[in-house]
C-alpha cells in the first residue's frame, strides 16, 4: 500500500485541475446556476467523452482503464474544488461501482462499455438518500408481470436525475433487493426539484406501475453481497473527496481575499486570529484528505472491511469541514461574504446540500460507534 501518488496519478490530477480551473471557473458555474439547469452539459461531454473520466475505474475487459479508487477520489476532489456541475459522482462513483458489484455479466457487458466512452450518464434512485446505507430503506417495489416487471413507488430525491440517460433503481422483488435499469424515456415520471444548491440537479422519481422488459432487471443475485457494501462505501468515500475538494476550493477563495483586503492599514491576512483560523482549517483538510487517500489505497472491491468505517469517518469529517470552511469564508469576506456576487455563497449552499445527502455526520459516527462498542441498548 502506497500513500504517495504515482506519476500517472499526479498527472491525472494535475490535468483535471488545469482543465476545471478553466472550464469550471466561477463565471462558468454561475452560468449554470443562472440557467437553472444544474448540469454543464458541454463540460460533462468533454470530461466523459473526450477525456474518458468515466472509464477510469472500469476494468479493461469492459473498455475501461482499469484504474481504481485513488483515481476516483482525486477527480472527485478536483470536481469539488471547482464546483463542477457534472454528474461524475453519480455515474462513475455510484452507478459504476454498483454495476461492478451487483450486475450480471450480461448487464455489465451491455452497460459498462457505454459508460466508459461517455455514452451513458446514470443516476441512482437510492431509496433513502439520508441514510448511510440508502438501500436499507427501499421505497420501490417490483413485481413480475407478463413480459417483464412492474415497478411501483416513489423516490423523493434523486441526485442528477434530471440529466441522466439511465436510472438505476434498487427495488424489492419478492422480498429480495434487486436492481433495475430504467431508461429515462421508458415512461418514468420525473419531477425536477428546485435545489438551494443550484450546482447539482435533483429530481423526484415516481413509478406508477411502470412496465419494464425482463432485461431491465440487471442484478445477478440481489443486492446483498459484501461487494455491494464495498461499492456503497466507495460512493461515500468519493462524496467525501468532493466535499474535501470543495473545502480546499472555498479556502483558496478565502485566502486570496484576505491577502488583498486591507483594514486598519493591513491586509487582513496578517491578523493572527484570521491566520489561526485558516491554519486550523488547513489541519482539518489534511486530516480528511489523509483519511480519504488512505482508505482509497486500501480499497478492495470485494471486501468492505474497515473501508466502510473509514469512508463513514471521512464523510462525517468532510461534511463538518466543508460547512465550516464555507462558513468561515463568508465570515472572513465580511460584508461581501453574504452577497450573491462573491463565491462563498456557492460553496456554502453546496456545503449544506452535501451534508444531508448520504447521512449527516452524527449518523456516520453512530455507525462507527456501533461497530466499536456494539449497538446501543439505551
Amino acid at each position: 500500500m502506497t500513500l504517495v501518488l504515482t506519476d500517472d496519478q499526479r498527472m491525472i490530477r494535475d490535468e483535471a485541475a488545469r482543465l476545471l480551473s478553466e472550464r469550471s471557473s466561477s463565471e462558468a458555474v454561475r452560468k449554470i446556476v443562472d440557467s437553472g439547469a444544474g448540469t454543464d452539459a458541454k463540460l460533462w461531454s468533454a470530461l466523459s467523452r473526450e477525456l474518458g473520466w468515466c472509464s477510469m475505474a472500469i476494468p479493461e475487459e469492459f473498455g475501461g482503464l482499469g484504474l481504481g479508487a485513488t483515481e476516483l477520489v482525486l477527480l472527485q476532489e478536483i470536481c469539488g474544488q471547482w464546483l463542477a456541475c457534472v454528474p461524475f459522482w453519480s455515474t462513475a462513483c455510484v452507478a459504476t461501482p454498483l454495476l461492478l458489484a451487483a450486475a450480471s455479466e450480461e448487464a455489465k457487458q451491455r452497460l459498462l462499455p457505454a459508460i466508459a466512452v461517455g455514452d451513458l450518464t446514470i443516476a441512482v434512485a437510492w431509496g433513502a438518500l439520508g441514510e448511510i446505507n440508502p438501500l436499507a430503506v427501499c421505497t420501490v417495489n417490483a413485481a413480475k408481470v407478463d413480459g417483464g416487471y412492474s415497478l411501483h413507488g416513489h423516490v423523493s430525491q434523486v441526485v442528477d436525475l434530471p440529466f441522466a440517460d439511465l436510472v438505476l433503481v434498487p427495488a424489492l422483488l419478492d422480498g429480495v433487493l434487486s436492481l433495475f435499469a430504467v431508461r429515462r424515456d421508458a415512461g418514468l415520471h420525473i419531477e425536477p426539484l428546485t435545489s438551494m444548491d443550484a450546482t447539482r440537479p435533483i429530481g423526484a422519481a415516481r413509478f406508477d406501475a411502470l412496465e419494464l422488459p425482463p432485461e431491465s432487471r440487471i442484478d445477478g443475485d440481489g443486492l446483498t453481497s459484501d461487494a455491494v457494501e464495498a461499492a456503497l462505501a466507495l460512493a461515500q468515500l468519493c462524496f467525501a473527496a468532493e466535499q474535501a475538494g470543495a473545502a480546499r476550493g472555498v479556502m483558496d477563495v478565502t485566502l486570496a481575499y484576505v491577502a488583498e483586503r486591507v483594514q486598519f492599514g493591513r491586509a487582513i491576512a496578517s491578523f493572527q486570529a484570521i491566520k489561526h483560523r485558516c491554519a486550523r482549517l488547513e489541519v482539518d483538510i489534511a486530516e480528511v484528505r489523509a483519511l480519504i487517500y488512505g482508505a482509497a489505497a486500501n480499497f478492495s472491491a470485494d471486501d468492505a472491511g474497515e473501508l466502510r468505517l473509514e469512508a463513514s469517518g471521512a464523510r462525517a469529517l468532510a461534511s463538518e469541514l466543508l460547512f465550516r470552511a464555507a462558513e468561515e469564508a463568508i465570515q472572513l469576506h465580511g460584508g461581501v461574504g453574504f452577497t450573491w456576487e462573491y463565491d462563498p455563497q456557492l460553496y456554502f449552499k453546496r456545503a449544506q446540500a452535501t451534508t444531508a445527502i448520504l447521512a449527516q455526520p452524527e449518523g456516520h459516527f453512530c455507525m462507527i460507534a456501533d461497530a466499536l462498542l456494539g449497538e446501543a441498548s439505551a
Binding site: 439520508g130 492599514g265 446540500a353 451534508t355
Partner: protein
C-alpha cells in the same frame, strides 16, 4: 427594571396589535426581518403610518417630541408584545431609533422641527451612510468627501457608501464624510443630512446570498446637503456618529428575541413531526439553543438595566456577539432538522422561513460590527488587552 408587571401596558399593546395587524396587514406577520428587509415595502410603510396613528411609533421619545416618553422597561414591553404578535421588521427603525434620538440630543431646534414629526408620522424614512468599501470594520477610514460651496454654504458630497440598508426605499440619508481635506482617522469628519431624491445620488442594490437585496451601494457625485443640515459642528462628525451608535441600546433586541423564540418553536415542531427530534444530537442542540435563548433574554435585561455600578460594562460588550452567533447557529440547526428537505425550495411556508433564517442569519455576525471587531472590542475595552497595531497600507 420590571418586565413582568406593566401588565396594563402589555395588554394594551397586545390588543392593539391583535386588532390592527389584520386584514391587508396580515401578510406582514413575521416579515421584513433580517435578510428579508426588502419584503413588501409599500405595505410596510403603510403599516408604519398605522402604527403612527396608534401613537406606537417612537414611544420612547419625550412627549414634547411626539413620543410617549416610555421608560426603558416600558419600551421593552412594547418590543416584546410587538414581536410576539408577529409585527413586521420596522421600516422606520433608523429614523426612530438612530437619527431621531441623535437629533433630539444634538440637533438644532430647526432640525428637530423639520425632521422629527415626519419620522414619527411615517412620512419620511431614513437610511444610514457610514460604511464604505474601504471603511467597513475600519470606520475611521472614511473617504467620502464633503466640500463647502462658498456661494450657497451647501455641502457638496462625493464618494461611495455601502451596506446601506433599504436606501432604495428611503427618503433621507445621514452621511459621515470627510470635510477637512487631508485629515485622517477620526478627525475632520462631518455628519450631514441629505435627501436621496436628488441629482448626484445613485443607488445600486447589492444582491444577497438568498437572492434578495436589502442592502445598497449609494454613490454620491456632487450631491448636496443644505448648510443647516449639519449635525454638530463640521469636524466633529465622529463624535456625533459614535453617539448615534450609542442610541442603539438594543431595546429592539428584546422584540427580536420573540422572533427568535418563534423560530426555535418552529424547529421543535418540525423535529417532532419528521423524527429528527429523536436524534440525541439534535436534541442536545435544541436544548443548547433553548438555554442560549434564555441566557440572551437575561443578558439583554441586564444590558438594558444600565447598572449604575458599572458591573455590566463587560457584558454589554459581548451581547451582540452572543445573539448573532446564537442566531446563525440556529439557522444551521434548522437545516439539520429539516434534513434532506432543507435543500429543496418549495412554497411550504415553514420550510421557506427556516431556509431564509439559514441564509440571512449569515449576515448577523457581519453587519453592525463583525465578530472579529466585536472580539477586538471585548478584548481591548472589556479585558484591557493591548490594541491591535495599525498597519500602513491603504
Amino acid at each position: 427594571m420590571n418586565t413582568e408587571s406593566n401588565s396594563a401596558l402589555r395588554s394594551e399593546i397586545a390588543e392593539w396589535m391583535a386588532t390592527h395587524l389584520t386584514g391587508r396587514f396580515e401578510a406582514l406577520r413575521f416579515r421584513g426581518n433580517s435578510g428579508d428587509g426588502d419584503a413588501l415595502p409599500e405595505l410596510r410603510k403603510e403599516w408604519e403610518r398605522e402604527l403612527a396613528r396608534g401613537r406606537w411609533t417612537c414611544p420612547g421619545w419625550p412627549e414634547d417630541m411626539g413620543g410617549r416618553g416610555l421608560s426603558v422597561a416600558e419600551q421593552v414591553v412594547f418590543q416584546e408584545e410587538y414581536g410576539r404578535a408577529g409585527g413586521p421588521g420596522r421600516m422606520g427603525h433608523i429614523g426612530e431609533g438612530l437619527i431621531g434620538p441623535t437629533l433630539i440630543a444634538f440637533g438644532t431646534e430647526e432640525q428637530k422641527q423639520r425632521f422629527l414629526p415626519k419620522i414619527r408620522s411615517g412620512e419620511e424614512f431614513w437610511c444610514q451612510g457610514y460604511s464604505e468599501p474601504s471603511a467597513g470594520s475600519d470606520l475611521a477610514n472614511i473617504r467620502t468627501r464633503a466640500r463647502k460651496d462658498p456661494v450657497t454654504g451647501e455641502w457638496i458630497v462625493s464618494g461611495q457608501k455601502v451596506w446601506t440598508s433599504l436606501a432604495h426605499l428611503s427618503d433621507w440619508i445621514f452621511v459621515l464624510a470627510r470635510c477637512d481635506e487631508g485629515s485622517v482617522g477620526r478627525n475632520g469628519l462631518i455628519f450631514l443630512l441629505l435627501p436621496l431624491d436628488q441629482h448626484g445620488v445613485e443607488i445600486q442594490p447589492i444582491r444577497q446570498i438568498g437572492g434578495s437585496a436589502e442592502f445598497n451601494s449609494v454613490f454620491f457625485e456632487g450631491a448636496r446637503a443644505r448648510a443647516e443640515h449639519v449635525v454638530g459642528a463640521p469636524g466633529e462628525g465622529w463624535k456625533i456618529a459614535m453617539a448615534l451608535l450609542g442610541f442603539e441600546r438594543g431595546i429592539s433586541t428584546l422584540g427580536q428575541q420573540m422572533s427568535f423564540a418563534q423560530e426555535l418553536e418552529l424547529i421543535i415542531e418540525i423535529a417532532r413531526e419528521n423524527g429528527a427530534g429523536r436524534s440525541p444530537i439534535i436534541r442536545q442542540r435544541i436544548a443548547r439553543a433553548w438555554v442560549g435563548l434564555r441566557a440572551m433574554r437575561y443578558l439583554a435585561m441586564r444590558v438594558l438595566a444600565d447598572d449604575p455600578s458599572g458591573d455590566m460594562r463587560r457584558e454589554v460588550l459581548g451581547y451582540k456577539y452572543h445573539w448573532s452567533n446564537w442566531h446563525r447557529d440556529l439557522g444551521k440547526l434548522a437545516m439539520d432538522v429539516l434534513g434532506l428537505e432543507a435543500n429543496i425550495v418549495s412554497n411550504d411556508p415553514r420550510r421557506e422561513r427556516l431556509q431564509q433564517l439559514f441564509l440571512f442569519s449569515r449576515a448577523d455576525t457581519i453587519y453592525g460590527g463583525t465578530n472579529e471587531i466585536q472580539l477586538n472590542l471585548i478584548a481591548e475595552q472589556g479585558l484591557g488587552m493591548p490594541r491591535e497595531p495599525r498597519g500602513t497600507l491603504g
